[in-house]
């Protein structure tokens, strides 16, 4: 279980996202239509977008607090981030991508990640030759190998063919339960929110509309 303590406001041009969730859980789904501000929320948590004001803490680690002038740089936040467009480094092969993160501390062993995310046949491939699902798995491994306290995923199933989605969902469950890395992920698919998340937040047009167990939110 992780304690998510997220309460912040992000401005982006005319758009304002007011986000406020405080919950203990293993996986938090940010659910809502596109353009609702889900990605901005992930970027704020990852340290790639500075909130106007508020507080972001995961498991008691304060990453941002405007009243106390805390703004931990992205590289010290220990937030694994997999953006929607995945962004594997194109000049590195799969193994070099995965082992890019160099952080000290508890990170899953490489063989464990290879096993969990079924990467053994991919390790020496060029990233340009991977399918959408393969890229997604490699990007998750890259983020996890840096030893994150929380894994942030933006639409992890969006680039994956329907038949292969099950594998990604299984991988997410494995990360959540076997590696015990808490997840925050953005999705617009209700079924994804239902399978993996134990808490869901519904966002629309920058406003938090509902927050609760996924079944209640989707109902």
């Amino acid at each position: 279980m992780a304690a998510f303590d997220l309460d912040f406001t992000v401005h982006q041009g005319d758009f304002t996202l007011d986000f406020s969730v405080s919950v203990d859980g293993r996986a938090l789904a940010l659910f809502g239509p596109s353009g609702s501000g889900k990605t901005s929320a992930l970027e704020a948590i990852a340290g790639l977008r500075t909130p106007r004001h508020g507080r972001i803490a995961v498991n008691g680690h304060v990453l941002f607090d405007s009243t106390r002038h805390v703004d931990v740089p992205a590289r010290h936040r220990r937030t694994g981030y997999v953006p929607q467009d995945i962004l594997l480094f194109p000049h590195l092969d799969v193994r070099e991508n995965i082992t890019y993160g160099l952080r000290e501390g508890n990170r899953p062993a490489l063989p464990v990640l290879i096993d969990l995310l079924e990467l053994s046949r991919l390790m020496d491939r060029r990233v340009t030759s991977l399918s959408g699902g393969e890229r997604q798995r490699v990007a998750m491994a890259r983020a996890l190998y840096s030893g994150p306290d929380v894994l942030l995923l933006d639409e992890p199933l969006a680039a994956v063919d329907l038949p292969r989605r099950r594998r990604i969902v299984d991988a997410l469950l494995g990360i959540r339960d076997e590696l015990a890395v808490p997840l925050i992920y953005v999705t617009h698919l209700p079924e994804e929110a239902l399978t993996v998340a134990d808490w869901a937040v519904l966002i629309d047009n920058g406003k938090l509309v509902a927050s609760g167990p996924p079944r209640e939110i989707m109902a």
Binding site: R75, G80, L102
Partner: protein
Amino acid sequence: MSAEIRDIAIFTTIAALLATAVMLVPGVAVAWLLARRRFPGKAIVETIVSLPLVMPPVATGLMLLWLFSRRGPVGALLARAGIEVVFTPAAVVIAMAVMGLPLLVRTARAGFEQVTKRYEQIAETLGAGPWRVFRTVTLPLAARNILAGAVLGFSRALGEFGATIVVAGSIPGRTRTLAVGIYTFTEAGQDREAMLLLVISVSIAFIAVLASNRLAREA
């Protein structure tokens, strides 16, 4: 081919290679600064770097002559250390580097601008500091442009005439380059020598362009 002609060809090639080496680090640094940073006086730096491209090369040479003469601001310092620049091979290299720099900076800058910032942000979330991000992500992704810029700078250096003749002269066996040699021999009615240098110039330029095109394809 006479020894004199051969020596001119070798000297010019080595001087142009040295000039490329000299401009590489400052050129890449300035290109990165212009592409990625906002700082006071940026427009001034931008203009100064591009100036040799639009100024008459002879005028650039005159500026260098003033800077590096014994009474000039740089020359006086060097003279105190017992270093003489004007009318030496070092002056040839300096003139070539100054004339080639704008081409390197412009091409490398375009390369840095093409690297999406988001790759760098991902590297940050994986724990990489600014220098590591630059070395392992930004630089390799801009490498093709930097290389193309270096070849352009080298080619420009190879053909440099106006600045060289003012600041380095045309001393046989000391500062005479291909371009300056062609002019000097033509003036003196030594058409055979001039023609030989012309053929050599065309050959080196041909090889440089061929090599750069191949590099661009492979990168």
